[in-house]
Structures are given as C-alpha cells and as structure tokens.
C-alpha cells in the first residue's frame, strides 16, 4: 500500500508526529530555534569571558571557543554522544544529546559574533558611561549590548541560516529529521527516489531563502540607519 502524496508531504513536514516522535522539517526548525536561543545566551557569556581582563578566564574561554570552532559539527555531535554518557554513567536521549551539541556549537560561533560587535564599540562609550555612574552590568545592558545587537543582527541571522542547514547533520545519531525522512522514503520506495530528494532540497531551500531574504532587508535598512 503506497501512501498518497498529501500524507507523504505531511510526513516530510512533521514526521510521524501524532503517533510517534516529532520529526521532519519541524524538528529541524525546532532545534535550530532553541539552540540559537540557548547558544545566544551562552555565547554572550563566552564572549564576555574571552574579552575579560582576568587572563586565566580569557585564556580558557579562548581555548574552548577556538577548539569548538575548529571542529566539524559532526565531531562535536560525536563528542556529546560518546562522552556525556561516560560522565553521566548512562546514555542520554538522542534529542537531548543533539540539543547539547548544537547549543555548544552555536554558542562558540555566536560568541565570536558578539566579540566582533564588542570590539567595534569605541572605548569612549565605556568611559562616558562609567563616568556617569553606571556599573559594568548597567553599562553593558543599557549602552553596549543594544548597539552590538543592532550592528550584528545580519550576522546573527546569517548564522541562524547556517545553523538551520547544519541541523541536517543530526540524522547521523538517529533523529528522524527531514534528511532522514528523505533517505528512508527513497530506500523504501526506490521509484520515489528523485521525488524525495528534490522535495527535501526544496523544503530546505524555501526556508533558508525566506530567512536570507529578511536578512538582506534588515541589512539594507541598517545601512540606511548608519548613514
């Protein structure tokens, strides 16, 4: 019994969801969004650690960031897959393991974006802000960060796009994401092989294209703002 086209497309979008775990494109979007968010917060702390005046902290954080950025996402995923169970003494659920590794990866990359923004803000702003009596944290939250965010917004969106594409890697540890569904369908029904890969590519394309369209518009707006 061959499934009909609408139910196939539903399979690609949300996987075997109501009956089984969430999958398909939905899991890619879900993972990309939540790891972007948690990586954003962790990345901010990493960036602050890297530019910190305490040499020990900044050395350690620099090492962590550089090593993470030098490794392929696939290896980071394997590290979490093999190493965390060893620490915890029992295997993690694969979704959690994927979440942790993607968060780590996105934190290291977003830390570099934050650092780029922080470096671009002149020392004078810090001095003026602290001379008006703001503490380090007030200065950070009210003066520096809003500017960094505005300046780096295109980079963050660019990274979100790349993170979304990179989530396709997690099928390797057995999550039924969009890629995995494409592979499964093409193996089960060889006559739908071309159809399933083209559909996967189109779904990825549409999402990334929409995101990059908005990124370009924001960038144009921002250029105007700086003029």
């Amino acid at each position: 019994m061959l499934p009909d086209i609408p139910s196939l497309i539903k399979m690609f979008l949300i996987g075997p969801f109501p009956k089984g775990p969430l999958g398909g494109l939905a899991i890619n979007i879900f993972l990309a969004v939540i790891t972007m968010a948690s990586g954003f917060i962790l990345g901010l702390f990493l960036a602050l650690g890297r530019i910190s005046k305490n040499i020990v902290i900044s050395r350690i954080v620099t090492c962590v960031i550089e090593i993470t950025r030098a490794l392929p996402l696939l290896l980071i995923v394997f590290w979490f897959y093999f190493f965390i169970p060893l620490l915890a003494g029992r295997p993690l659920p694969i979704l959690l393991s994927a979440y942790l590794s993607l968060t780590f990866y996105s934190a290291a990359n977003q830390a570099e974006i934050f650092r780029g923004g922080l470096m671009n803000i002149s020392k004078g702003q810090w001095q003026v802000a602290s001379s008006t009596g703001l503490s380090y944290y007030q200065c950070m939250i009210y003066i520096i960060l809003p500017q960094v965010l505005r300046m780096m917004l295109p980079s963050f969106v660019g990274f979100l796009i790349s993170l979304f594409k990179d989530t396709s890697v997690i099928y390797i540890i057995g999550i039924i994401d969009l890629t995995q569904i494409g592979i499964m369908l093409s193996q089960r029904e060889p006559d739908k092989l071309i159809f399933s890969y083209i559909l996967v590519a189109i779904l990825y394309f549409i999402f990334c294209f929409i995101l990059s369209f908005f990124a370009k518009r924001w960038e144009a707006k921002q250029l105007k703002w700086f003029k």
Partner: protein
C-alpha cells in the same frame, strides 16, 4: 561521583593504534586530506568562474549564476552530497547509470562534487564582494590612461580584490575542510568514518574521537597559520601600513 566515572574509564591506545584500526586511521587521514584539498581547489575555480558569470553583460548568464549561487547557499552541504550519490546516477539512461552505480569510488567523487559545489556559491559571492570593493574611479582612470581591459584586471582589480577577499576566503575554505567530515554519510572511508567504525567494533569511541579531533585541530591550525603567513608576506601593502602608523603617531 562524576570524576569517578571518568577515572574508571581505562584508555586503551594499544588496541586502536595497531593492526587494522591503525590502517583505517591512516587511510582516514589520507582520504580526508585529499577530500579537503581537492574540493577546496575545485570550489575556488568554480567560484572564480561564477564571479565572471555574475559580472557578465549577458542577462541570461547573470541570472543563471545568481540562481546557482542561491541554490548553493540555501541547500545544506549534506543534501548536496546525498544528491550526487543517490540522485545523480538516476538522471542518466541505462548504460551510464549502471556504470556509475557500480563504480566503487562513486561515493568519493560524489563527496568531492557536493563539497565543492556547495562551497563554490559562497566563494563566488566572496570574490565578487572583493571585486566590487575596488572603486570604479580607479577603473575609469586606468581606461583613460589607455590601459587594456586585461591590464586593468591584472594590475588594478585583482591585486586589490584579493587583499579584500582573502580573509573571508580562508575562513570559507576552512569551513569546507570541516564539512569534508560529512562524507561519512556516503561511507567514504575518511577519518570520522574510521572513528565510527572503530567505535562500533571495539567500543573504543573516545580514543578514536580524540584522534579525529587532534587531526582536525592540527589541520585547522596549520592552514590558518599558512594563510596568515601568506597574507602578511604577499598581500599586505607595506607602504600603506607605514602610512597608517605615521597617521597614528601624529594622532
């Protein structure tokens, strides 16, 4: 308790660094390296061609190159690899199809094709960015002075464009090198594949992962050092630096 479980794990390097496993690892180094270098090289060549396509006077060529770039940038590398491995042979008729499907190195060449195509879109954009960073006035000035189109490219546009686009180009190539690990999905016998294989046979995943990690770290380190060296010795305008230093001194 956490420390306890770390200490309880006994590393067994002997087992991994001998016999068949060592062979897999060494073969993995070799194949990974060749994937990285070959695909980066092809990607740069394609990227340069794309740049010319985008700057072309013909509207059709421009459209095709921008469509190509959008496709490269918006479809994950992994999907490109799978596409070249599974779908590409299907596009041909019978004799060619069986020939491709029975070719034992199809997975290797499919990974090269996928990696280089998905990077070439980015590289094309980067090079175009470098070229558009060269001011138009210089080109028109050179025209008025009677230089030919070829001379303008050779002496005025390229030297400056390369300086502008070298750092992002290097980081893109490093990204491409990291992406070469995705060839695991087509079971190309590269280093991460060796890791997985060793894990599934001996359950010594950690040691193997450490080896793969060190491999990627050293490749990354060596390549970025080399790039820095090239940038410092060939691509930096020493006069410009002296000037900026003088300006700083005055300030």
């Amino acid at each position: 308790m956490i420390m306890g479980s770390i200490i309880n794990y006994e590393f067994d390097w002997q087992k991994i660094l001998s016999g068949q496993y060592l062979e897999w690892i060494l073969q993995g180094f070799q194949i990974s390296l060749s994937l990285m270098l070959l695909s980066s090289l092809i990607a740069v060549v394609l990227g340069v061609l794309l740049t010319f396509g985008q700057l072309s006077k013909h509207r059709v060529i421009r459209f095709i190159s921008s469509l190509y770039i959008e496709l490269c940038r918006n479809i994950p590398t992994l999907i490109w690899l799978l596409f070249f491995y599974y779908v590409f042979p299907e596009l041909f008729s019978e004799p060619v199809k069986t020939m491709l499907n029975t070719n034992p190195s199809l997975n290797y060449w499919a990974s090269i094709a996928g990696l280089s195509i998905s990077s070439s879109g980015y590289i094309g954009e980067i090079i175009r960015g470098g070229i558009s960073g060269v001011s138009r006035e210089q080109v028109s000035a050179a025209h008025t002075l009677g230089h030919s189109q070829w001379e303008i490219w050779k002496y005025i546009i390229w030297p400056q464009a390369i300086r502008i686009c070298f750092p992002p180009l290097v980081s893109r190539i490093i990204h491409n090198m990291k992406n070469s690990s995705l060839a695991l999905a087509l079971s190309v016998h590269e280093i991460v594949w060796a890791t997985q294989q060793i894990e599934s046979i001996t359950f010594r995943g950690i040691e193997a992962t450490i080896i793969a990690t060190l491999f990627f770290l050293s490749i990354n380190y060596v390549f970025s050092r080399l790039a820095l060296l090239v940038e410092k010795s060939f691509l930096t305008d020493k006069k410009l630096i002296n000037k900026t230093e003088k300006v700083k001194d005055v300030a």
